[in-house]
């Protein structure tokens, strides 16, 4: 199967996807041999590595063939051939922008914030983290995917534990154990899947994602069980309500760069996993369990927003807003139509950009004031008008103001969800009211009102900070005004995924708009009958 794929898609001469993994690893090794007392040199090497990696990921954008639904930039390196494990990489419209997002956020996070102490291991861990994430988004082999998915935990654990604030050791532990417990079952699932697939087809054992997904050789029951094992791992990673409580702790205690990467990239591992290894591998089970996830998605949207409103710590507030935003992604994913999945994908990218920027801004306030407690802040717009202005734009993007990036994804998710299961969409749309509530209230308490004490003379954004934020702001506006180039590249892959689900689920057809039909109050399941 893979051979056919390789032949049809053609291989690029330069294995760019493995290079995206290998470059940060090499950078990390280089950092480790540099003298520990030269933090500026360490930073230079780390940032350059991340910039080179980022540049390669952006190169993908130009070389990516628009309109091609399949995997591109395929590269296969034999590894453990007898066991069917090979270093198989490839990306399509679903993973393309996640790779680019990763390539963008790492240099930004590295540039924006210095670790303060122990610079050498910090940069090494950050670069290893990037390698792992790139591996997750590029891997087309289940074992390679799983290894990368797990490897990501280690650097993140150390980043939170060593460079975090407050009770960071406890937060790091919680993060680690929680996500570990989730993915333990996934390994069992992967092994079972490969063996059952080999049994059913009589072929050699293989962990080739495309081969297994296209064959759909498992019995319905087995597929549902294995899907559940995968889903648990992803659900913790997303996180989906009620498995979300590791997130606010991890975010609050993590260093700023850690929060940026955690929110911007790491949370997408779960949502990406649902698309690539949920819907694609187990279309029938995904359809079967969809109501569960739709419900949890909507609960997450409303619940996350309500809890966010009551937070006293700015970082915790942003963390809970992520719970709400990721609820939208889950809702869109399990709407199982093009609009919903595409909206979810856009929301992944947009959430990365906006929430990444929000965490940077909160970090900048923390650097200046030594506190993130909303009650200690106030009137900052007077002393730092530019910072306040940037915060305002990012906040409005997070609220989902049309014309900025956040809206496009959110709207498409809701539109798709309405076509599939309208009452869920109607309830989820209520989340937009709450989003305005918690963010505007926080903004008011932090930036408006009279400025007293240290708040009165807080310095405004510096040039470096402005430069770091500029690309994110530009993306926020661009993606809101002209998302077409992005959607255009996503659509063929999303479409083919939806067709795949349609094809393998009996009697299911994509819930689309019904021209001229009547909206009856009880007619909520038309997605079921073809």
């Amino acid at each position: 199967m893979t051979a056919v794929l390789l032949a049809s898609a053609g291989t690029s001469s330069f294995p760019v996807l493995p290079a995206l993994v290998v470059t940060p690893v090499l950078g990390a090794l280089l950092v480790m041999v540099l003298p520990r007392r030269r933090p500026e040199l360490l930073k230079l090497v780390a940032v350059s590595t991340a910039v080179v990696t980022g540049a390669m990921s952006f190169w993908l954008l130009s070389a990516f063939k628009v309109g091609d639904p399949g995997f591109q930039f395929l590269s296969e390196t034999p590894w453990m051939g007898d066991l069917g494990v090979s270093l198989l990489f490839g990306i399509d419209g679903i993973s393309l922008f996640l790779v680019i997002l990763t390539g963008l956020l790492f240099p930004v996070a590295l540039l924006a914030i210095d670790p303060g102490h122990d610079a050498r291991p910090y940069y090494a861990w950050m670069l290893l983290l990037e390698a792992g994430v790139m591996g997750v988004f590029g891997a087309l082999d289940l074992i390679v995917f799983f290894l990368c998915f797990e490897v990501v935990l280690v650097p993140m654990y150390f980043l939170i534990g060593r460079w975090g604030h407050g009770n960071s050791a406890r937060a790091a532990t919680k993060f680690f154990l929680y996500t570990m417990a989730g993915s333990a079952l996934m390994l069992v699932g992967i092994l079972a899947l490969a063996f059952l697939h080999a049994d059913a087809t009589g072929a050699d054992i293989s962990f080739d994602l495309v081969a297994i997904a296209e064959a759909q050789s498992l019995s319905t029951g087995a597929a549902r069980w294995i899907f559940a094992a995968f889903a648990l791992a992803f659900a913790v990673k997303v996180p989906i309500f009620p498995l979300h409580t590791w997130l606010p702790d991890a975010h609050t205690e993590a260093p700023t760069a850690g929060s940026v990467i955690l929110a911007g990239v790491l949370l997408k591992l779960g949502t990406y996993g649902f698309l690539r290894f949920g819907l694609y591998l187990f279309p029938e089970a995904s359809h079967y369990f969809a109501p569960v996830f739709l419900t949890l998605g909507v609960v997450g949207i409303v619940y996350g927003a309500i809890v966010a409103t009551m937070q006293a710590d700015l970082k915790r507030l942003v963390a809970y807003s992520s719970v709400a935003h990721l609820g939208f992604i889950i809702l869109g994913t399990f709407a199982l139509n093009t609009e919903g999945i595409e909206g979810g994908l856009l929301q992944m990218v947009n959430h990365g950009v906006s929430t990444g920027a929000l965490f940077l801004l909160v970090g900048m306030i923390y650097e200046r004031r030594g506190t993130r407690m909303i009650g200690d802040l106030g009137g900052l717009q007077k002393s730092a008008p530019v910072l306040a202005g940037v915060f305002m734009v990012v906040m409005l993007s997070s609220i989902g103001l049309p014309g900025l990036n956040g809206f496009v994804g959110e709207f498409l998710v809701l539109l798709g969800a309405f076509n599939a299961h309208r009452w869920w969409a109607v309830a989820a749309a209520g989340g937009v009211i709450l989003a305005a509530l918690y963010l505007l209230w926080a903004y008011q308490r932090v930036f408006h009102g009279p400025a007293e004490g240290d708040n009165a003379d807080m310095p405004d954004l510096g040039l470096r900070e402005a430069l770091v934020l500029a690309p994110l702001l530009a993306l926020i506006v661009f993606m809101g005004v002209y998302p077409k180039p992005v959607i255009e590249r996503m659509e063929p892959a999303v479409d083919s995924l939806v067709r795949h689900v349609e094809f393998h689920v009996d009697g299911f057809s994509e819930p689309v708009s019904q021209m001229g039909s009547e909206i009856g109050p009880l007619d909520d399941s038309h997605g079921e009958h073809g």
Partner: protein, 642 residues
């Protein structure tokens, strides 16, 4: 010419971009002149397009100008494109025209403010968003403008952000509006589900052709009504508008009187074929909601002492008339009143701003009195606005209100009666405002209750109220002229004098109701309305000028307290609402997160035996994963070599 329509929103957008990046370098007053200049340019562009359109025949007066594809996803394709038709052009004309005048006025009003360039940047951005709202050729682009004006309104209400009350008012406006936006969004989902498109041309033409089921049209119409009720401050979502007066007065004039708050009326007028397809109770609901809000807000306006609060409740009341018109199928009258209201209410707000300016920021009418001697231009133009809103012929408000009342009678005499009662109250409270502000004795230097000695009063006595600068009075004069003559675009005498109706025809399909009453009845209704207005004025004169009747009779505490609704809602939000949120938060901490630790605890106890191997240090576990991964790989490697 029609292709030039993109210039109309592009100019204010350009102004915004320049001002936000180099506003501080441009400084005062040039930032204000730049903003005013782009608005004037935008107005000229609108006029050019209008003249082109006005010369065309009815079926030719609709054009779609597409700039680029905005969101293409799945079956959805939404453009950034403009629907140029009589309705959108009418809106553009008064948005850019009144907008330019208010920009000009602001140059004087905001003089010396530290945030001068920022103010004009926001004002330009607001106008851009407002123009996108009315020009968008699909619901989603209208929604972009809809949310954009909401965000600008938020930023401008809390413009003087160091005052906590202003910041709270801005937030309240945004969040309350979002409740309405929820309705708008659901309406869009239902529209896309039903029509497979969000473009007005597709949706409205299909709806007009009758391809849509009644239940569906009802759902869409009701959800759009929820949105309109939020934006146009109708009951029960009006709560944000009185608080929105915390913003600078030009903002109140532009956003909270002339333009943004009419968006709801625009939206309902735009989708008139959908309302026509909806169940019969939908128009009834719109009409009763409108007339109910009109009466309700008028009673509150009677007892307010803050001059801007009176005008704010008056705006809510007048918007209620427009909803009454829409519900009565009198779309032309709704647009007509929207235009005349834009002129006379902008005039009244700017006039009140001039008064506040002359009184050094004091908004309490009890401190005014006799101001006509100090500010003759403001007083003179204010008289025009007063007569127009009170429905005195031949001022513009008379014609538009009269037309609405005629259609209300046509639908149901009960609607007409409530509308008439509101008109009487309107004349009353506006006369009260006039009397307290401009006539009688000057009270600015009087001692006020609660003041310790005469020191403060003596200080005020040195500060004589003064007339405002030319930049402020010039717009007042222009608006007064418009408020006088705007009624002549739609005179009820014969078909040929109904210019506005003919002009709007292509936008209204055939959904404009035809008046089933004769000329005689219509004349009689108008006469009754005039008499009602005169009665309202007369009573107010007796109370506030001649002091023959006790004012406490009209200024009931329940009116002054806005029927206690705002306070009750605030108490609910601060009480049970907040407690509910708090409880959810505690649930998250104790139950959801607690369960995790519970599980961890159980595991720890069960694993007592295994404790020898487990140090409890995750650092060890993390290293373990590394070792494990290596072991796994090794195992694979070993097996593969066998």
């Amino acid at each position: 010419m029609v292709d030039l329509i993109w210039l109309v929103p592009a100019l204010p957008l350009g102004g915004f971009i320049v001002l936000i990046f180099c506003g501080r370098r441009i400084g005062e007053p040039f930032a204000g002149w730049l903003a005013t200049g782009v608005m004037a340019g935008s107005f000229i562009a609108t006029v050019a397009v209008f003249l082109d359109m006005a010369g065309r025949s009815a079926h030719d007066r609709r054009a779609v100008v597409t700039l680029f594809e905005w969101i293409p996803a799945g079956d959805l394709s939404v453009d950034v494109g403009f629907l140029v038709d009589p309705l959108s052009l009418t809106m553009c004309l008064f948005i850019t025209g009144v907008g330019a005048l208010i920009h000009l006025y602001s140059v004087g009003y905001m003089h010396g403010d530290a945030g001068f360039p920022r103010f004009f940047a926001y004002l330009n951005l607001f106008t851009f968003a407002m123009l996108m709202l009315v020009l968008g050729d699909n619901l989603l682009l209208t929604f972009l403008g809809w949310e954009g004006v909401g965000a600008c309104s938020y930023m401008l209400i809390s413009f003087w952000f160091t005052e906590p009350a202003n910041a709270t008012a801005g937030k309240k406006a945004f969040v309350t509006n979002r409740i309405g936006d929820w309705g708008f969004m659901v309406a869009m989902f239902a529209t896309f589900f039903t029509f497979g498109s969000l473009n007005y041309v597709d949706v409205l033409d299909a709806s007009e052709a009758g391809t849509v089921a009644q239940t569906t049209a009802t759902l869409i119409a009701v959800m759009l009504l929820v949105g309109a009720v939020g934006k146009s401050a109708q009951f029960p979502l009006y709560l944000w508008l009185p608080d929105a007066m915390a913003g600078p007065t030009p903002v109140s004039a532009l956003i909270h009187a002339a333009t943004m708050v009419t968006s709801g009326v625009y939206l309902l007028t735009r989708v008139n074929p959908v309302i026509a397809d909806a169940a019969g109770w939908v128009p009834d609901l719109i009409a009763w909601l409108g007339v109910g809000t009109a009466l309700f807000a008028a009673t509150i306006a009677m007892a307010q002492t803050d001059i801007k609060k009176v005008l704010a409740y008056s705006t809510i009341s007048q918007l209620g008339y427009m909803f009454l018109a829409v519900g009565s199928g009198a779309y032309v009258a709704a647009v007509f009143h929207m235009v005349t209201h834009a002129f006379f209410k902008a005039l009244l707000f700017l006039g009140s701003g001039s008064v506040i300016h002359g009184m050094d920021g004091d908004q309490d009418m009890r401190h005014y009195g006799g101001l006509r001697r100090f500010m003759p231009v403001t007083a003179g133009t204010f008289v025009v606005g007063w007569l127009a809103i009170a429905g005195v012929p031949p001022f513009s408000g008379f014609w538009s209100k009269d037309e609405i009342l005629a259609f209300a009678w046509n639908k149901s005499p009960a609607l007409w009666f409530v509308g008439l009662l509101t008109a009487v109250l309107t004349a009353f409270y506006m006369t009260r405002l006039m009397a307290m502000t401009f006539s009688g004795e000057s009270r600015y230097a009087d001692e006020r209750p609660g003041e310790e000695d005469g020191g403060a009063a003596a200080l005020r006595a040195d500060h004589t109220p003064h007339e405002s600068p030319r930049t402020m009075t010039a717009p007042l004069v222009v608006l007064a002229g418009l408020a006088m003559v705007a009624g002549f675009v739609q005179l009820p005498f014969s078909s040929s004098t109904k210019w506005l109706e003919h002009w709007l025809e292509p936008s209204l399909y055939s959904n404009e109701v035809h008046l089933g009453i004769g000329g005689g009845t219509q004349f009689l209704l108008a006469a009754i309305a005039v008499v009602g207005g005169v009665v309202g004025i007369g009573v107010a004169v007796a109370v506030y000028v001649k002091a023959r009747v006790d004012r406490g009779l009209f200024e009931q505490a329940i009116f002054a307290d806005a029927w206690r609704i705002d306070r009750s809602v605030a108490r609910f939000m601060g009480g049970p609402g907040r407690q509910g949120f708090d409880a959810t938060n505690r649930f998250d901490e104790r139950v959801v997160d607690g369960a995790v630790f519970g599980v961890a605890d159980v595991v720890r106890r069960l694993a007592g035996l295994g404790r020898l191997f487990h140090s409890g240090m995750v650092r060890t576990y993390a290293s373990g994963i590394g070792v494990g991964a290596v072991a796994l790989i090794t195992w694979f490697l070993v097996r593969s070599t066998l």
